[in-house]
Symmetry: C2
Amino acid sequence: MKPYVIGVDLGGTNSVFGIVDTEGTIIAEESIKTQSFKTAAEFVNAGLGCIYRLVEKVGGIEKIQGMGIGAPNANYYTGTIEYAPNISWAHNGIVQLAGMFSGELGIPVRITNDANAAAMGEKLYGTAQGMKNFIMITLGTGLGAGIIINGELVYGHDGFAGELGHVIIDRSENARLCGCGRKGCLEAYCSATGVARTAREFLQNTNRPSSLREKPVDKIESLDVFLAAQAGDEIAKEVFQFTGTMLGWACADFSAFSSPEAFIFFGGLCKSGDMIMKPIEETYNKTVMPLFRNKAKFLISGLMNKNAAVLGASALGWE
Amino acid sequence: MKPYVIGVDLGGTNSVFGIVDTEGTIIAEESIKTQSFKTAAEFVNAGLGCIYRLVEKVGGIEKIQGMGIGAPNANYYTGTIEYAPNISWAHNGIVQLAGMFSGELGIPVRITNDANAAAMGEKLYGTAQGMKNFIMITLGTGLGAGIIINGELVYGHDGFAGELGHVIIDRSENARLCGCGRKGCLEAYCSATGVARTAREFLQNTNRPSSLREKPVDKIESLDVFLAAQAGDEIAKEVFQFTGTMLGWACADFSAFSSPEAFIFFGGLCKSGDMIMKPIEETYNKTVMPLFRNKAKFLISGLMNKNAAVLGASALGWE
């Protein structure tokens, strides 16, 4: 075994390249602007530039065991990014990203979606160490998930398992439209954008006072709701209660599926702490099948202040 | 490796003990009435009697690799049956069934719930041969499930994963009450009892003619609905359409979780064939996330006419 791996967090804005040791310490990192390239080839070239500079610091590429990339719409089985709506050079086709890097570097390169990378990071370096069955839920702009069963990531038949943002949580007529084109998806309610939507709805459906009314309703973001709730605003607090309740319902269904030891939450919305975690856990234990009651843990990621995506992706470099 | 295993299908009425060879052929079998015993010890004694007679036919216990039991409320991890409502000698406590048999027989004995046993049988001897990711759904009195991911049964943290009859498919006020004490569970709609309930509701909500009206409404069973639908009765056909639609919705959510290659259906309701399978598949492809559309197979078990539960349970004997 060689002493280092490379982890890459390929995001819609920045792509961060890091050298990671066996303890999960990021030894060195560099980043580039993901969207400043016209083609995938140009992006890979710039990425290789970062990598070559970084590996110099640890003794060259022969010290690197492998590389892992966490990216949106990534397929572990094929090493590709497929039709990634938010990446200009990958939005209307299939990019053989893993192969493009491994061909140049001469080391194994694996790729997985960002939520799966977060789950791997949590398992190796975070709060899920030693757990063989857990579900990582990332609450960002959308809702992503990485599912670990019997100690392994679940990729499914086609590499796209773990799309828990797209289970249907509301089958009623007036369920919310989701970005995927369907109605009632969990992500349309339980995500940063979902929280902002809920706040706008709540404000429009009542005349009660709220500090959120100081901003035009269509400009309200999840951070505004968080700050207002923290300051004691009743409507903002109800938004978090509503969001947590829906997540609690969803987790109850997830337990019926894979009965995990823990649900681990990651992402901006978790910074609200108990405000979201309490309604999740309370709703879960109130509504889950009696068989599962008071068994699952509800935890916040142990990697919230570290670069979890780089760490998680780097884990694939050890495979 | 020894040449035979024992498979046991422990049901609410009969318990069938079978000797199975490496090809999945049942060489010999005997059965006893599950509920004719006062205690678990008496049941085990009678079962041992069957087993000793059966193994004589194949050369004695030294020809047996191991034994597997499929039973309601069984826990694979602990080898126990726990609070099984329909088994008189196990309904109010925990029975160490696997240990009781293995202590006497001197061979490894494993136990799992009946739907898991069916999934194992399907994987080894049925239509799922070669599949690494599929979901087995058993439509009997209730709705059971066995989930195979990365080629392995999913037991979850506590041994109780795969309770797919208890995901919530209807969150509305007037959702049906389920046997588990909650409201809106899939099993309350998609099972033999669910089909009978749907038929009663449909008949009471309309004056349209139906051959089902020949029977008192509270006496209607799923078999009556099947026979009526087969004979062209419109209301009976709508009952199957309704049941299949709900199963299609549920399968769409299950794909977001583990993206299986196939959904395989087993049990009495499947005898209706296309009448239930068509609306399942059509609804699935109409409502699933675009990413998963037209990928999953919808199959009827390849073991419908064999003793699938004995075969499936016997698979555990090879572990």
